[in-house]
Symmetry: C2
DNA sequence: CTCTGAAACTATAGTCATTATGGATTCATA
DNA sequence: TATGAATCCATAATGACTATAGTTTCAGAG
């Protein structure tokens, strides 16, 4: 990676860090993009060049990883395990379903959950994984990616964190929803 | 209804009409709130007093009706009909699932679908019906409204228009999704 | 009918996110 | 080393939205 890309990544990182620090201290609405740009020592124009989606996007990275990561969980699951079982286990170790996180990440998660604008943007990134996930599910179940039930299943799985995350026992809630989906999407669907 | 409320409703209507007309002609981003306020012959401050949720909310009414209407479809269904069957029939006659609409409403729908900001706001209003719908489902199926599966079902049903609406045959797509949900939420759940 | 308080309206000025412009600097590479 | 692209900057503009303070209009009490 050349110096150019390195500097670019550095600037992006500086912006993320500055934004997260200031948001944590003053709240999302208590911080202006000008302050963030100052803190990161770049101009406002540069800030927006790095974050075309706007202020909310500052503390997120693409989210492309998440898609890859979900699709991989489906594709690389142990032999004999159902697609939904793989997704269930995959989600169980992430997001709202574990408190086994470094305090830094926990604080970030709380900030997002407590800020409507951030929550919405986070959802948008997350739901963008519907297409890739649907492709992975289709490939593993011998269906077409355009199959409505495949797309619906992908979407429904992606909704689970938002639905279960606010419950008293998120993990139990998640399992209840997966049970519901598994009844409607039985193993038999997965025969090629 | 006194003159006061009547005038208020008139102003709100004038704003809606002006916004819809201008959006249709110049596109959502091609119109400023100042133009809309002018067209409706009110000040900008007044515009925002009527529409606290901002520009996107101009062409929508509360959406409170929609919730009532959905919950009613569940509550007042014919004896022996399942909750999901009632919802299936109810949705089939609305939104993206019928072209049997006055051209005025069709144009409005196309505007919303073709404008990200409007689409998102429309979704927000629609999803706000999750709570009421969950209550209705819970009441009819002898479960608690806090039951995770009830809330999930409500949410999943509300997602259907967005999921199926973009398919070539929306009605067929909707039916496919309802079949999926009915398998996971069998009749047996509805015994009190 | 008249008085009064609240609601609705207005003009004005401000804040803030976001975009546009045009120029300066830095880096990759031929 | 020269060239072109990427990055950055200062500046100014646009447009959504909010705050303030004052005016008009209506509903209801007396």
């Amino acid at each position: 990676m050349g110096r150019r890309e390195r500097k670019k990544a550095q600037t992006r990182r500086a912006l993320s860090d500055a934004a997260l620090r200031l948001f944590a201290e003053h709240g999302y609405d208590g911080v202006t993009v000008a302050q963030i740009a100052d803190e990161a020592d770049v101009s406002i124009a540069t800030l927006f060049a790095h974050v075309p989606d706007g202020k909310e996007a500052l503390i997120f990275d693409d989210g492309a990883e998440r898609h890859v990561w979900l699709a991989a969980a489906v594709r690389d699951r142990p032999a004999g395990q159902s697609v939904l079982e793989a997704l269930r286990r995959c989600l169980a170790g992430r997001g709202p379903f574990t408190d086994d996180l470094p305090p830094e990440l926990r604080a970030k998660r709380d900030l997002i959950v407590g800020t409507p604008a951030l929550r919405e943007y986070s959802r948008k990134l997350w739901i963008a994984g519907e297409g890739p996930l649907a492709e992975a599910i289709a490939a593993e179940s011998g269906r077409e990616p355009s199959d409505m039930t495949v797309r619906a299943l992908a979407r429904y799985v992606l909704e689970i964190p938002e639905l279960a995350g606010v419950e008293a026992d998120p993990l139990a809630a998640m399992n209840a929803i997966f049970d519901l989906l598994e009844a409607g999407w039985p193993q038999s669907h997965e025969e090629a």
